[in-house]
């Protein structure tokens, strides 16, 4: 428990106190949340927040090597956006534990993996990030690199990217 508290304190120190608060002791922790996640204001949980309908063709999910492949892609993608000079500033204050979890849910939901998305919608999430078109394109490239690493064929990557591309409208704000 002490380690848990310490890691929360560390994350808060990194993220800055204005960005997020820890869950108070005694607060009900939603079942989907992971240890180490920071508090977010309440919102209505819905798969609609994922921003795209799922792909029903099972060959796409298979090309992504199922949920395990998605998890590897998300890990590599999160590491990419966190370290790439083009995107590191956008994600500077992110709750990485939560981001990794919600991206896994979102990718899995859209790729037809049978997951539910419990995160906020794209407009809400990116409201204050000031993302530009060039930065959105950089994120696409980082995701392409992560999918390449997982061995996802290019045409299958494009099936997924076609679902994500319209999110530019809710994500790019300047």
């Amino acid at each position: 428990m002490r380690i848990f508290s310490a890691s929360i304190a560390l994350i808060i120190a990194l993220a800055g106190p204005a960005v997020a608060q820890p869950l108070n002791e005694g607060d009900a922790v939603p079942a989907h949340m992971r240890e180490g996640e920071l508090h977010v204001d309440p919102y209505e949980i819905s798969n609609k927040n994922a921003g795209a309908d799922p792909i029903s063709d099972p060959s796409v999910l298979a090309a992504f090597n199922g949920r395990e492949g998605i998890a590897r892609i998300v890990d590599s993608f999160v590491e990419g956006v966190r370290t790439d000079p083009r995107t590191e500033k956008i994600f500077a204050a992110s709750d990485w534990v939560r981001l990794t979890r919600t991206l896994n849910e979102q990718f899995c939901y859209i790729l037809g993996g049978g997951c539910d998305y419990t995160g906020r919608d794209m407009k809400e999430v990116h409201r204050d990030h000031g993302v530009t078109t060039a930065e959105f394109a950089a994120v696409v490239e980082i995701l392409q690199a992560a999918m390449n690493e997982e061995g996802v064929p290019f045409r299958m990557q494009n099936r997924f990217l076609a679902k994500l591309a319209p999110m530019k409208r809710d994500t790019v704000t300047r």
Partner: protein
């Protein structure tokens, strides 16, 4: 202001603009995904090889200024064709372009009675405005990216072109293009409608037995990877000169992005009959630099 002048020169010659300079002038460079700026079409506009597309030249997005420079060489059985030029794209909205075309008749010139090594040339100034849509990101809509544009073309050797039956040695073409990337299918489609009276794209002058007509052009491209696209194009042509039949053009092409700044295009182009010489088919190579 010397810096602005240097920037303008940089844009014209396609030189990279440093981030520091861009900051001072309050615009960005770069930011488009690979190959989404298209290649340089034969008229100098951003597009496919022989037809303009609705895309805007250069790598810049809605927040910046970009551009391209190109050199194209086409080796035909009885002629050679070269073009070079540059284009600038502003805020992914507006494009201006310039291209110089040189059509060398080589020993064919003597057979045509115009002299050995005679060269038909023209200068082309183009402008294009994106009206609606986003070919790349609007994957949940049917609306393509739509642009309208115009070329002013001015050919050399006016008296000779008149003697060949052309009405004018300069002319204006206007066009509308619709470009749609069907990302889930890895396919890009383009349709262009051009209102033109140009003979062999203007190299043999403008008008003759007919005035301006609408001519459709289509392109289909399939993306094999982030860097490599293959495809084909078909362009319908007017047929205005009494002395020689003009035929439609088509090509099959491969465009390869070496990196963000360099794209190589190779094509097999069939330009049909040109000035009575049939079956003008050959290898088309184009180098494009972009920022």
């Amino acid at each position: 202001m010397p810096l602005r002048a240097a920037m303008a020169a940089g844009i014209l010659i396609g030189a990279p603009v440093t981030a520091a300079h861009a900051d001072m002038l309050d615009f960005e460079t770069g930011g488009k995904l690979l190959l989404t700026r298209g290649v340089t079409d034969v008229d100098g506009a951003a597009g496919g090889g022989i037809t303009p597309w609705a895309v805007i030249a250069g790598n810049s997005t809605d927040r910046g200024i970009g551009g391209t420079a190109h050199y194209t060489y086409l080796d035909l059985p009885d002629y050679t064709f070269e073009s070079y030029g540059a284009a600038a794209g502003f805020y992914n909205r507006f494009e201006i372009s310039y291209s110089r075309q040189e059509f060398d008749t080589g020993s064919t010139g003597a057979a045509l009675g115009i002299g050995d090594g005679f060269t038909f040339n023209q200068d082309i100034v183009g402008a294009k405005l994106r009206l609606a849509g986003d070919a790349v990101y609007d994957q949940d809509k049917w609306l393509p990216q739509i642009a309208v544009g115009a070329f002013y073309k001015s050919a050399d050797h006016g008296p000779l072109l008149n003697a060949l039956g052309a009405e004018d040695d300069d002319g204006v073409e206007v066009y509308a293009s619709a470009t749609k990337l069907l990302l889930a299918q890895s396919l890009l489609l383009n349709a262009t409608l051009r209102y033109t009276d140009a003979n062999q794209n203007g190299l043999l002058g403008f008008g003759g037995t007919n005035d301006h007509q609408l001519q459709p052009e289509v392109s289909v491209a399939y993306m094999l990877s982030r860097r490599l696209v293959i495809g084909g194009e078909y362009r319908m042509k007017p047929d205005n000169l009494a002395f020689a039949q003009e035929e439609d053009w088509f090509d099959v092409f491969a465009a390869y992005a070496l990196n963000r700044n360099v794209t190589l295009t190779a094509a097999y182009a069939d330009l049909g009959s040109i000035a009575t010489f049939e079956d003008q088919r050959g290898l088309y190579l184009s180098l494009q630099l972009g920022f």
